[in-house]
């Protein structure tokens, strides 16, 4: 990768002078370092990065990046990021948000940013809990979770980020685990290069209020058997011994053991660029224990971005209009002269 980076940044170049104030052991530390690594490996001038966030633990992120940054208000990061990117499409715009910020108070903005396909990269830290307000349930909390505001367990169905993104006509969805810095770095780089709204769900651990929430799939002992890391063009294979895979059984996905009458060539081949969202939706929805949880870039279908469509319209209308400056406009239409 070194030769691709003509600008020769190191992760250190993206560290601001601010002291990082997340709790020791918080998954956010790993996300920060993966993002700084990814940026160092990309061929984008540092001054072109803008990090926008809402409110929540993860939303302090822009302060720790030595780039342009805008720490917004609760739930509104998508809207600010949309404004920045549309106003200056030359910038690389990143939205840092959490499950409460993006899916509860900011749910409306989130789905509309995705629908419009503004070219922003949304890193959604999903720890299934409110951390900054000290432990209330979130829209992704598992049903029944006991928290300070659900002392008898929640009675709500949680959102699944991937299903929501695809339902909102999203074209890019990836999933990673906070501690998996190598995979995360690859995904951030891929998302940065992708033209359109990319949503990256990070399964992140809150060491204080929801410790171990993803442990049943991310634990060192179990992760190979309980997650499936997708790579475009490669078969959907997983397991400690690479002995399990996915096939389509009728209209459903099915986990099979290789050798039990199945060979590698029978497995589904991952096509992230497929525009039809059907299979991506099924993959994004997979939950342990019935299925492995899918990681990697699940969907990366091509489509026109919002800001480019806006620019194109401005160009074409401008070309055909007689109004070239404000003075032309003021004098257009019916006017009359006095004196």
């Amino acid at each position: 990768m070194a030769e691709e980076n003509k600008l020769k940044y190191s992760p250190k170049d993206f560290k601001s002078d601010q002291e990082v104030r997340w709790c020791p052991g918080c998954g956010n530390h790993a996300v920060l370092s993966a993002v700084q690594r990814a940026l160092a490996e990309l061929d984008i001038p540092k001054e072109n990065y803008v990090f926008v966030s809402g409110i929540g633990c993860s939303s302090r992120f822009p302060y720790y990046m030595d780039t342009y940054g805008f720490h917004g208000i609760h739930g509104r990061a998508s809207t600010i990021a949309t404004g920045v990117k549309t106003a200056n499409p030359g910038l690389s715009v990143w939205q840092i948000t959490g499950d409460g910020d993006a899916l509860a108070i900011g749910g409306n903005h989130f789905i509309h940013a995705v629908r419009r396909n503004v070219d922003i990269n949304i890193i959604l830290f999903n720890n299934e809990i409110y951390g900054l307000t000290k432990g209330q349930y979130s829209p992704t909390s598992e049903k029944g979770l006991v928290t300070r505001t659900s002392p008898y367990g929640t009675v709500e169905e949680p959102f699944s980020v991937g299903e929501l993104v695809i339902g909102a006509k999203g074209k890019y969805f990836a999933r990673t685990i906070d501690a998996n810095v190598t995979l995360s770095t690859q995904i951030y780089k891929d998302a940065a290069r992708y033209k359109g709204t990319s949503v990256i769900e990070v399964l992140q651990n809150c060491v204080i209020f929801n410790d171990g929430v993803h442990e049943n799939i991310s634990g060192r002992e179990v992760r190979d058997d309980r997650t499936l890391t997708l790579r475009h063009g490669e078969p959907m294979i997983f397991g400690k011994n690479n002995d399990k895979g996915l096939v389509l059984d009728g209209l459903k996905l099915k986990v099979v053991n290789l050798g039990d009458g199945y060979r590698e060539k029978d497995l589904l081949i991952h096509d992230a660029y497929e525009t039809n969202p059907g299979i991506h939706y099924m993959i994004a929805s997979m939950r342990y224990p019935e299925y492995p949880v899918a990681l990697g870039v699940i969907r990366a279908a091509a489509g026109q971005t919002y800001e480019m469509a806006v620019e194109e319209q401005i160009r074409s209308v401008g070309k055909n209009s007689e109004i070239k400056c404000v003075a032309d406009l003021l004098k257009s239409g019916s006017t009359w002269k006095v004196g």
Binding site: M65, V84, V317
Partner: protein, 614 residues
């Protein structure tokens, strides 16, 4: 009918077109106004329509009106009482009975005065008699049957025929005021470019109405209104919403920036977004957001990225934007928020006028959160104040709230088109990379304004946001730092007063009574005050456009009058604000909250009352 029509020369006349919301009264009024403007009359218009797009036909709730005041002399308001009322149905009589001048003219569609419609409007038998309008000149015209007859050879759908009724009525009014068809014909040709039949039908209906009026001429006097004496220049007719949009465009050009509007449709502010959405040819990015909050936040993002950013809304939308305005105060980013006020609270009276958002604009946020507040006075000067709002926002790095109202937004008046050279250049305080690290909250000593560092500029990387910061942009909860920053932000806004003009008195610089207005009720107050001055009273007027900060000469000016009367369409918000800012004076009030402006007479009566007191 050998009698020659009586021709009355008048200084000014008020005409009100009124009918069902589907009768096309807004278009009829607009065509009449544009024709009058091209003729050279001064004018002021006011569309008065229901919030419902199509309320039940024939009901009073569904009446849509358009009032236009045309004059040879200066016209400042759409007028109180109508000289001529065009009523397309009995409900239109019901809705307007109290607004016709004694001895005025009423033209109505007699075909629509059926038993059923009369009953629907709440009358027993004869609306004219029951409203005691017998003293008016009544012209019943069989509008419906006449257009059917006139258009029978065109083989149009019956519905299309009925749609020309308004043009028949307009034709009658054109005869009354001796107006030409040219502008209206051109409008038909442009509007219905691909429907020659419809162009023809409208032209025929317009002429049929004109000739019908001519045939029955003896029934009403004809009015003659000479062109007004306006200052030299090229003029156009403009509404407040359009003027706002154009003012922003002019400001963007003068600042060398592209314009971004992030907005959500809301009555009566939507016209601003619509007008700017048209202006792709001038590079405008118009973003119709998913809600009010997204509207302002997208604009804030665009401001951070270096655009002239604006958002438009009306009262309830301003409530939704409050938190984001607070963020703009904290981030010290330039942004203009237009609030086209309407009757409130809550959804209130969406299409009616009120000035009750003043305190919301000044104080409706958490924390010490000062912003600049301006208010426009007339449809045409919305251009100037949109430009001013943008200038102050950009040069002082602050949110600016610009207040207008439904009357200004949809009302129109002639506007002398300025040359772009007449407008000042706007100089935003752009940051340039230097030898030392960029400090986002470092300020210039005079205005206390921080500089604007645009993403994409190497060496100026910085972070801002809603948390309290030090000069470096570091988050800080230190007590002394917070107090220092709060006071600095307040002082920054106060220092805007250094770049705003003094208040100008209309009338003598001292006297018995100073009538004080603010924003969009200027026209009514000045008309009343001028009449009082003609009657010999020592009354003057000031209208505030700069609300926060107030102009520098308020104290000096107020001290030269024996009494002060504050006129506003709320329960006394500006009067209360003045009491806080200038406690040394006593303020009397005239207030109204009916969704309607003051009448000139109401203001005058209050003035007489005060002048009589010892």
């Amino acid at each position: 009918m050998g009698k020659k029509p009586q021709i009355i020369e008048r200084e000014e006349v008020v005409i009100r077109f009124s009918g069902d919301s589907g009768d096309g009264m807004q278009l009829t009024g607009t065509l009449f106004s544009d024709t009058a403007a091209l003729f050279g009359n001064d004018l002021s218009t006011f569309p008065d329509y229901p919030a419902e797009i199509r309320a039940p036909q024939g009901t009073v709730g569904g009446v849509s009106g358009f009032q236009v005041h045309v004059g040879h002399k200066e016209v400042n308001t759409p007028g109180d009482l109508a000289d001529v009322l065009v009523a397309m149905n009995p409900a239109a009589i019901k809705a307007n009975a109290g607004w016709i001048k004694p001895g005025g003219t009423i033209i109505y569609d007699e075909n629509n005065f059926t038993e059923k419609n009369i009953e629907k409007a709440g009358y027993e038998k004869d609306p004219i008699k029951e409203e005691k309008l017998d003293n008016c000149i009544i012209i019943p015209a069989p509008v419906t049957s006449m257009v059917r007859e006139a258009l029978k050879d065109l083989n149009l759908e019956p519905k299309a025929v009925l749609r020309t009724k308004n043009m028949f009525a307009l034709g009658m009014v054109y005869w009354l005021f001796n107006r030409k068809f040219k502008y209206t014909d051109e409008y038909f040709e442009k509007k219905f470019k691909n429907k020659p039949d419809i162009v023809k039908a409208n032209k025929i209906a317009l002429r049929a109405g004109y000739y019908y009026a001519e045939t029955i001429e003896a029934l009403s006097p004809k009015y003659k209104i000479l062109p007004a004496k306006l200052p030299k220049g090229v003029y156009r007719n403009i509404s407040g919403n359009t003027a706002i949009a154009w003012g922003f465009l002019a400001a963007a050009e003068k600042a060398g920036l592209k314009l971004f509007i992030g907005s959500y449709p809301i009555t009566p502010a939507t016209g601003i977004l619509e007008e700017l959405a048209l202006r792709k040819d001038l590079g405008v990015i118009s973003f119709q957001a998913e809600d009010e909050i997204a509207g302002i936040c997208s604009a804030l993002g665009a401001s951070f990225a270096g655009r002239l950013a604006v958002t438009s809304t009306s009262g309830p939308g301003l409530s939704l934007k409050s938190e984001a305005i607070g963020l703009a105060v904290m981030a010290e980013l330039p942004i203009v928020i237009v609030d086209v006020q309407r009757g409130g609270p809550s959804t209130g009276l969406p299409t009616k006028t009120e000035q009750a958002d003043l305190l919301q604009a000044l104080y409706g946020r958490n924390g010490e959160s000062p912003v600049v507040v301006l208010a426009a006075s007339t449809p045409a000067d919305c251009f100037h104040f949109a430009f001013e709002a943008a200038r102050i926002a950009l040069e002082h790095m602050t949110p600016v709230i610009l207040l207008t109202d439904g009357y200004l937004a949809n009302g129109t008046e002639p506007w002398r088109i300025p040359e772009m050279d007449e407008l000042p250049v706007i100089n935003p305080p752009f940051a340039t990379p230097g030898d030392t690290p960029f400090l986002p909250y470092k300020r210039d000593e005079q205005k206390l304004v921080r500089s604007w560092a645009l993403p994409g500029t190497p060496g100026l990387e910085h972070r801002i946001g809603g948390l309290e910061k030090t000069i470096k942009g570091t988050v800080s909860y230190t007590p002394d730092n917070h107090e220092l920053m709060v006071k600095t932000r307040a002082e920054k806004i106060m220092r805007v007063s250094g770049s705003i003009p003094d208040l100008k008195v209309q009338g003598d610089e001292s006297g018995d009574l100073l009538v004080v207005g603010w924003g969009g009720k200027y026209g009514y107050i000045i008309t009343a005050v001028r009449e009082l001055q003609m009657e010999g009273y020592k009354v003057s007027m000031v209208n505030f456009n700069y609300i926060n900060p107030l102009p520098g000469n308020v104290r000096d000016l107020f001290s030269r009058f024996k009494k002060i009367l504050v006129c506003e369409l709320n329960l006394g918000q500006f009067a209360g604000y003045l009491r806080m800012k200038h406690q040394e004076f006593e303020y009397q009030q005239i207030n109204k909250v009916q969704g309607q402006p003051f009448t000139i007479n109401e203001i005058k009566q209050k003035c007489y009352e005060i002048l009589k007191e010892e």
